[in-house]
């Protein structure tokens, strides 16, 4: 009498409209079954082999990119050379980088995951763990593919058994995504994660500084494509992928593989992951090259500005200053990019001020005002800085006053109160100075 539970459930889920049994749509036709996920055939179809462990199976796929091979305009051998000789540069690029780590370039392991979703949590799994290691003969990519959900323990154990201890990690957004996710998977199975506590360079941050196309003045745009690996590899090495699988399609291809055991649709995902790893190596090598060779090696003002920021962040003030000066120069001369020039000059001023070279800092601020087309916010900042400089340092109160009046002429409510306050104080000082002359100045300095 009661309706069939299945029907009621379908109705609750709203998946299939309630139909009489005879008119119900046939079950989705099963695709011709593939060899099954955890089979040597599936592994072979993906160019790998099936490793069977006591707690399950994992497909391991290995691919070498020899030194002589090309990746776009780059030669793999050149990338490898840069990576192997890049240990000092890596310390500049990474936030925390123990002196011992990556002392030999071959101890770098590039890691990238393909996952069943982006949401995180216990139900998001890494179904493909890709690792790339560079040595004198080229780059070796080793991928661990989950042949079915029930094999996750085996995948994690196999990865654990392989991951050689001294490797430092390089990822792309791994600090907030890949590594926490992988750690969660190990926690889930209550094992220690082999990648925990390793030195870790997340190249995304350096890449953003160097290659984000929009000026950072407006803050980082939320959805910025310019630093995706596929964009960078084209920009930096002319790599053009053919038939690349779009990211949003990746989880469903894996789900399909799990359902029907046919490995073919996954081949593109495996290739995508491999190319991402090689591109990550490329991007890292390029960044190392820039750090090693300095401003002269940069391709344009923006890249040079970004390189300066990387040096500044690593505490290499001299290199940073050289980059900012060069970037300002390039931007003014060649590209006529007033925004980039303005920003470079601002950083230049900051760097000099920090070094205690106040007059030179003021020179940089003044250069901003001499740059036509510089953003208003920058000009205001320059005027404020110059007002401070002239009031307190060079004690040229008339100039200070002129800069404050310029700030006030700028119709910005938020800054107005500050500026008015400063103006009143300068004017008070000016009044005292007229009769008091030197004495008043001494009074004030005491």
């Amino acid at each position: 009498m009661a309706r069939d539970l299945g029907d009621r459930l379908r109705q609750v889920l709203g998946t299939v409209p309630r139909l009489a049994p005879e008119t119900r749509a046939p079950e989705p036709r099963a695709c011709p079954a593939g060899p099954g996920g955890a089979s040597p055939e599936a592994a072979a179809a993906l160019g790998g082999r099936l490793v069977e462990r006591e707690d399950g199976a994992v497909i391991v796929i290995e691919r070498r990119y020899p030194s002589a091979a090309r990746y776009g305009r780059s030669r793999i051998g050149d990338l490898v050379d840069a990576l192997l000789g890049g240990s000092d540069a890596l310390a500049t690029l990474a936030r925390v980088w123990p002196a011992s780590a990556g002392a030999r370039g071959d101890a770098l392991c590039f890691v990238d995951l393909e996952t069943t979703g982006l949401a995180g949590g216990a139900g998001t799994q890494a179904f493909l763990v890709g690792c790339a290691v560079a040595d004198a003969d080229g780059i070796t990519v080793r991928q661990f593919l989950l042949p079915g959900f029930e094999h996750e323990r085996a995948l994690l154990a196999e990865l654990d058994a392989w991951a050689p201890v001294p490797h430092a990690l390089v990822t792309y957004n791994g600090r907030s995504f890949d590594l926490p996710l992988l750690e969660t998977r190990y926690l889930f199975h209550r094992r220690a994660c082999p990648f925990a506590e390793r030195p870790h360079l997340d190249m995304l941050h350096a890449a953003r500084r160097l290659w984000r196309s929009r000026p950072a003045i407006a803050g980082p745009p939320l959805d910025d494509d310019s630093c995706r690996l596929t964009v960078l590899e084209r920009h930096l090495a002319g790599v053009a992928r053919v038939g690349d699988v779009p990211g949003f399609e990746i989880p469903s291809r894996f789900f399909q593989f799990v359902r029907d055991g046919r490995p073919e649709p996954l081949a593109a995902v495996v290739e995508h992951n491999r190319l991402d790893l090689v591109s990550l190596a490329l991007v890292t090598a390029r960044a190392i090259g820039l750090v090693q060779r300095g401003p002269a090696a940069t391709a344009n003002a923006r890249e040079c500005l970004g390189l300066g920021k990387i040096f500044a962040r690593a505490g290499a003030a001299e290199n940073a200053e050289a980059c900012f000066a060069h970037a300002a120069d390039l931007a003014g001369r060649v590209g006529r990019e007033p925004q980039v020039r303005g920003e470079a000059l601002k950083w230049l001023a900051w760097t000099r001020r920090r070094a205690g070279r106040l007059a030179e800092a003021a020179e940089a601020w003044r250069a901003i005002l001499d740059t036509p087309g510089c953003p208003r916010a920058l000009r205001r900042e320059a005027r404020e800085a110059l007002a401070i400089h002239h009031e307190h340092r060079s004690r040229d109160l008339e100039s200070a006053r002129a800069f404050v009046l310029d700030v006030l002429a700028d119709d910005d409510e938020a800054r107005r109160a500050d500026a008015e306050h400063r103006l009143r104080r300068i004017e008070r000082k000016l009044q005292r100075r007229v009769p008091g002359g030197l004495m008043a100045a001494l009074d004030e300095s005491s």
Binding site: M1, A2, R3, L5, G6, R8, L9, R10, Q11, V12, L13, T15, V16, E27, P28, T116, G117, L118, A119, G120, G121, A122, G123, T124, G148, F149, E150, T184, R185, L187, F188, R190, P251, S252, F255, V258, R259
Partner: protein, 823 residues
């Protein structure tokens, strides 16, 4: 609240409402005077007087404390800390709970307000942490605010224990407001995590690997305010606890439950239904109580023919005023958000002359948290002298103990009436509770039969964790958290079939054989995000005030959105009136502007019920139970003037309809019964409406559920109309059907017991109508005259005669309705 917290004298004396009561004695005199004025006569038990305005005065005598020594198993450090705080022995129930927990049982303890409830669970938990520092406990409170409240006390105890050499005991709340950088520490370091079911559901369980430390060592789960987990919320919680149990199994722990509940009929059964484990119940309470006077007020009849009584809101306003004027701190409970706002407006006005209308505040769900915290603080400090609240303050939010609780309208259940009355009352001194009846049939029944209330057991809390709509969502979440196995069970539902259907939808994938197979989540989504525990749908509407700029001032759940926020509706927040200018239905926003007007609005809705399947019926097909499809729509509204309640206008609306599948009890009046009635078609129709009106009231009384848990609809061969609307078809009713349905998608389990009680329902309805003193219908039986027509009462009675006869004579066979409640 807790016994071990020092009792503060009432707040600052500068009430302004004044004669200021200083100290206990002045206050006692003020209370005495107010009560004497309200209910002249002896202030003790007196015989009930159902026909008077004061129908009952009962004196609940003070209760002496019963103590028990500290248990031997109590850690000396804990004992020392308690002694330092002036606690030299335990109340008997605290010791009893401690004993049960020590012997490994799951415990539920029923405790009224201010009876040392928190020590019941804090003692065993802290004791275990002291003995075995890896021990972890998870406390769940129905709301964030309650967890914050408990935090302060537990934190202090933990601090004292630390000083006493107990090591560092981490006590942390974990909810939506917990900062990201604190979360990592809490996950690993907190011994006691105070949270709420919603956070467990969406923030903890789906991330259980990060909580491995907690789950591996989880020994206690504390569910406070267990009685709050009834209906939809409880049904969700039952499923969340099923998920919690799976995760605990994964980490090899098997925690013990300690639950506390207000007095309800079935605390043990509720705990067992939710946690799916056997419980012991500690019912005897050892805490002392002060004397309390309980007064029932029935507003006087102002028009005997029409059966119209003085407005109960006006009467509640008068009663509250008597106490407020004498400087007593008063909480007024109203039955709806609207009534809360109206009463707040009235009382603020009454005390405007004192120059301090801010001493009176409104309080209800939908106010933003800051405003609520401010009001709670004001109550504790004594700066707020009167608060008008919905049931939002019925739970154990710490507002201190007030002097008087006034209930504007019967709260609907015995349990919540006691709970609300418990908001007034300190251990040492006398307090009062006053219930002012409205003219609704239930109220009239209770106020005129005080023994029904004072002697009856309180209600059952019903939950249905096997409601498919609810369960399916949690099965998804469970599969996300840990693969489901092919051997897994889930309540009484065939979860393997559920998973099979989820697989059809591509959400899970099964691998392995029948014996050792598993179902894995195969979707990119995070299923917990799509499920709200507070409703069956997680949608809500926000109210945006555009008087000055754009500010969000309130929110409301999806179902009540159209009726509260339709265009031109008057929306009230703490007595301020706003008019809805635009309802963005798809964007779930209502744009309002502050207005000054003398009316409020009441929505008119239209409901149509279609039977999908009949599960059971009596032999003649009069009483039925089955699954139905309900479509409802707000079609218009009335403008009602404040104070006089006259109808000053109306409007039509064109809003999208809301639909749901649910379960229903319904009555089919046979065509021949209708035809045999010697009345005109109009009168017959009036009779059906009147019968439905009365039946719904009696049904909610029998089920002991909230009025809003049941929906009512009447139809005639498919043309639906709601009895509560002014909408009526021109056609007569030849074979009407009266539907009383579960007002939640999928049903929460009200309609089946109703079907079981069919005879009782008919008989009680008959008693109600027959026993009512009005001439031809009033709000207390078949509905007000003018709403129902002159013959409604007579026809309704004739119909009942037929129905009681018909079903009594013919009820045979397996599908016969049994005259009992299958709880």
């Amino acid at each position: 609240m807790a016994s071990d917290r020092p009792i503060h004298a009432s707040g600052p004396a500068a009430s302004g409402l004044v004669p200021v009561a200083r100290g206990g004695e002045r206050k006692a005199i003020a209370l005495q005077t107010a009560l004497e004025r309200l209910a002249p006569g002896p202030l003790g038990d007196r015989p009930d007087t159902p026909d008077e305005v004061i129908t009952a005065v009962r004196r609940l005598p003070p209760v002496e404390a019963r103590y028990a020594p500290f248990p031997d198993a109590l850690d000396p450090r804990l004992r020392a800390v308690l002694e330092r705080r002036g606690i030299r022995q335990l109340y008997s129930h605290q010791a009893e709970v401690f004993g049960h927990v020590a012997s490994g049982r799951h415990v539920v303890v029923t405790t009224p307000t201010a009876s040392g409830k928190t020590l019941c669970y804090n003692l065993p938990v802290l004791n275990a942490v002291l003995t075995e520092p890896e021990t972890r406990a998870l406390y769940l409170f129905p709301t964030k605010a309650l967890a914050q409240d408990q935090m302060a006390e537990l934190h202090e105890l933990a601090g004292l224990l630390g000083e006493a050499g107990g090591g560092e005991i981490g006590v942390h709340t974990y909810d939506g407001d917990t900062p990201q950088d604190a979360r990592r520490t809490i996950r690993t370091r907190a011994h006691v995590v105070l949270s709420n079911p919603d956070m467990l559901h969406s923030g903890i369980l789906p991330h259980h690997p990060r909580w491995a430390k907690l789950f591996e060592n989880l020994r206690y789960i504390v569910l406070d305010e267990l009685h709050a987990y009834r209906g939809v919320f409880g049904s969700h919680l039952g499923n969340v606890l099923r998920r919690l149990a799976r995760v605990c199994r994964h980490y090899g722990s098997s925690p013990q439950f300690i639950c506390s509940s207000a007095t309800i009929a079935n605390p043990r059964e509720l705990a067992e239904r939710l946690a799916e484990r056997p419980f012991v119940h500690v019912a005897e309470n050892g805490a002392p109580r002060g004397e309390k006077l309980f007064v029932f007020v029935n507003p006087p009849v102002v028009n005997r023919e029409l059966g119209i009584r003085r407005s109960y809101l006006a009467e509640a306003r008068r009663v509250a005023g008597e106490f407020l004027r004498r400087g007593l701190q008063v909480i007024v409970f109203a039955q709806s958000r609207l009534a809360t706002e109206i009463l707040t407006t009235y009382l603020k006005e009454d005390f405007e002359d004192a120059g301090l209308p801010d001493l009176i505040r409104g309080y209800r769900g939908g106010y933003l948290p800051n405003r609520r915290r401010e009001i709670e603080r004001g109550l504790r400090d004594g700066l707020v002298r009167g608060v008008v609240s919905t049931n939002a303050l019925e739970l154990g939010i710490d507002i201190g103990a007030l002097d008087v609780a006034v209930m504007a309208g019967y709260p609907g259940t015995i349990a919540s009436t006691w709970q609300r009355a418990g908001r007034a009352g300190r251990r040492e001194s006398r307090s009062a509770a006053v219930m002012v009846a409205s003219s609704a049939p239930v109220d009239q029944f209770v106020v005129r039969h005080p023994t029904y209330f004072f002697d009856a057991s309180p209600e059952h809390a019903l939950v249905n964790p096997d409601n498919l709509h609810i369960l399916v969502n949690h099965v998804k979440c469970a599969a996300f958290e840990l693969p489901m196995t092919t051997g897994e069970v889930w309540g009484s539902v065939d979860v393997q079939e559920v998973l099979g259907v989820l697989q059809e939808a591509g959400l899970v994938h099964r691998s392995g054989g029948d014996e050792n197979g598993q179902w894995n989540w195969t979707s990119e989504s995070y299923p917990a995000d799509a499920v709200s525990l507070r409703s069956i749908s997680s949608d809500n509407f926000v109210v945006v005030d555009r008087t000055r700029g754009s500010t969000v001032i309130a929110e409301t759940d999806f179902t009540s959105g159209p009726s509260m926020l339709h265009p031109k509706a008057i929306y009230i927040v703490e007595g301020r009136l706003y008019q809805v200018e635009r309802l963005d239905f798809d964007g779930r926003k209502a744009y309002v502007r502050e207005v000054d007007c003398d009316y409020y609005t009441d929505a008119i809705d239209y409901t149509k019920v279609t039977v999908l399947e009949r599960f059971a019926s009596d032999a003649r097909g009069v009483a039925n139970h089955g699954e139905v499809h309900v479509v409802s729509r707000v079609v218009g509204f009335k403008k009602i003037r404040f104070y006089t309640n006259e109808n000053v206008g109306s409007g039509e609306l064109d809003l999208p309809e809301q639909q749901m599948h649910t379960t229903s009890y319904w009555l089919e009046v046979p065509r021949e019964v209708m035809a045999a009635l010697p009345f005109a078609a109009d009168d017959r129709r009036d009779g059906v409406f009147g019968l439905a009106f009365a039946m719904k009231q009696v049904a909610s009384l029998l089920l002991m559920c909230d009025q809003r848990d049941l929906g009512l609809s009447i139809d005639n061969s498919g043309s639906g109309l709601s009895a509560e609307t002014a909408q009526r078809p021109d056609a007569g009713l030849e074979a009407p059907r009266i539907f009383l349905y579960d007002a939640y998608p999928g049903g929460i389990g009200f309609s089946q017991p109703l079907f079981g009680m069919h005879h009782q329902l008919a008989a009680r309805t008959r008693d109600l109508i027959l026993g009512c003193g009005c001439e031809s219908g009033c709000p207390s039986c078949v509905g007000p005259v003018g709403h129902t027509g002159p013959q409604a009462k007579t026809v309704a009675l004739r119909l009942l005669d037929h129905l009681v006869e018909a079903s009594a004579a013919r009820a045979v066979g397996p599908a016969t309705a049994a005259d009992e409640v299958p709880f």
